[in-house]
């Protein structure tokens, strides 16, 4: 049976790990390759790097981080942030990323999703959807796509955009609530669920995890195939294995394999 995926996310700026609270007030906290290795050893199901480096010139640093991570971690790696061209995707995949997530470029030009998935296969194209709730109390729920780290409104309906992205060839959708990101108040479950129920591709819930129940809710109430969190793991509030154990106790199907270690191979 397919298991629920737990995905720690590392925000990376200029080759270093940061975690933004509502995307401002960043705290520098370490080497992404070392953090990736630790998550790999702890049994994370995938890793996600979100590059928030401002300048395009600094892309080489990220590619080096991806390359060194892929050499050391034998698990799937998704990389996003600032991906604008087919060449950006190619460079990340060649550096060792398994999936590349597209955000602003997909909103500006949805056909880019089609071009990318035709070129590289839909299995490696993730469309990242950053949405904010725009409906008031008593109105039917509605969310709008925001770009540039949540600063720029687009007027585009999030559910319609999600359907379009999946139809154009996205293999997976990463749904982040910009209202919840950094709040530790839990995912925007109605948002995640509305999208997960509307598309046939897997959905990753993101934005707002503050405790382990939030992860369970993302799957049970949000209907997500995978749950992503950053700071609760990165600042050591919870370990990956604690979280997976908790989710399994709550009734979710989790992968609880012992992580790879040399002894298990040598004694084969």
């Amino acid at each position: 049976m397919l298991k629920v995926r737990l995905i720690p996310c590392l925000d990376v700026k200029d080759g270093r790990v940061v975690k933004g609270v509502q995307f401002v007030d960043l705290v520098d906290a370490g080497d992404p390759v070392e953090a990736a290795k630790a998550y790999d050893a702890a049994g994370a199901d995938e890793l996600c790097f979100l590059d928030i480096t401002a300048s395009h010139e600094a892309r080489g640093i990220l590619l080096d981080v991806v390359r060194r991570t892929a050499e050391a971690c034998f698990m799937p790696l998704t990389v996003g942030g600032g991906v604008r061209t087919v060449e950006d995707i190619r460079n990340l995949l060649l550096a060792g990323a398994d999936k590349v997530s597209i955000n602003t470029a997909a909103v500006k030009n949805p056909d880019f999703v089609r071009e990318a998935s035709e070129k590289f296969g839909n299995q490696c194209i993730v469309v990242a959807i950053d949405a904010k709730k725009v409906s008031g109390e008593g109105e039917p729920a509605a969310w709008e796509i925001f770009t540039h780290g949540g600063r720029t409104a687009t007027g585009i309906d999030a559910i319609a955009f999600a359907k379009q992205a999946a139809a154009l060839g996205a293999g997976e959708l990463l749904v982040t609530s910009m209202d919840r990101d950094g709040t530790k108040g839990g995912y925007d479950l109605p948002l995640v669920r509305a999208i997960a129920d509307a598309v046939s591709v897997p959905v990753i819930a993101s934005g707002g995890v503050g405790n382990l129940d939030h992860l369970v809710d993302g799957v049970e109430k949000g209907h997500a195939s995978a749950v992503l969190a950053a700071s609760i793991f990165h600042f050591g509030t919870h370990t990956i294995s604690e979280a997976k154990g908790y989710m399994a106790k709550a009734g979710l199907k989790m992968r609880l394999d012992e992580p790879a270690h040399s002894a298990s191979i040598r004694t084969a």
């Binding site: 892929a70 034998f74 590289f120 296969g121 997976e172 298990s264 004694t267």
Partner: protein, 216 residues
Amino acid sequence: MSVVIIDYGSGNLHSAAKAFERAAREAELDLSITVSSDPNAVAKADQIVLPGVGAFADCRRGLDSVPGMVEVLQRRVHEDKRPFFGICVGMQLMATRGLEHTTSYGLDWIKGDVKAIVPKDPALKIPHMGWNTLELAKPHPVLDGIPTGPDGLHAYFVHSYALSAADPADVVATTDYGGPVTAIVGRDNLVGAQFHPEKSQALGLRLIANFLRWRP
């Protein structure tokens, strides 16, 4: 002993090479592992690995675009009986035909077609993406020491199409995704995995080590 991982323009092979190097090192096997697009390297290698990501037809085109590659592969695998390992689309290419987007032809080593996965439960997402366990169909040396079944180790899958083998005897393991989906095929000196051993942590490294030790 030497192992070649065939590079025919289908994505990054660096992490695959690193996984093979690590598996060899941890299993204490003295091997040289190279990534190459040169048919001569395939002609000389003791063991052959064919990876592949993307669409079936694209991968087939990529393989055909290297002059002499398919001929060398056929000879090394059929006449010289070298151990061969297909991974993901590299495994799918072992089939007779691929029916992804258009009909294209595989290497025809495992009779059968590569078709879209149609789960019985329409709520199941496509692609089949993530960690799943293996159901053993027949014992095979590449699975030595790897626990299978619902409580076994997990393999990492990402695919929307799967190999439907004409002869059930060619299926080594399946995985459950709204019904059985072919996970490993094997016959004589050939083996192929639909999942990504190079991304499958403990199961993957042990499977690779088993392949490297395999003397069919």
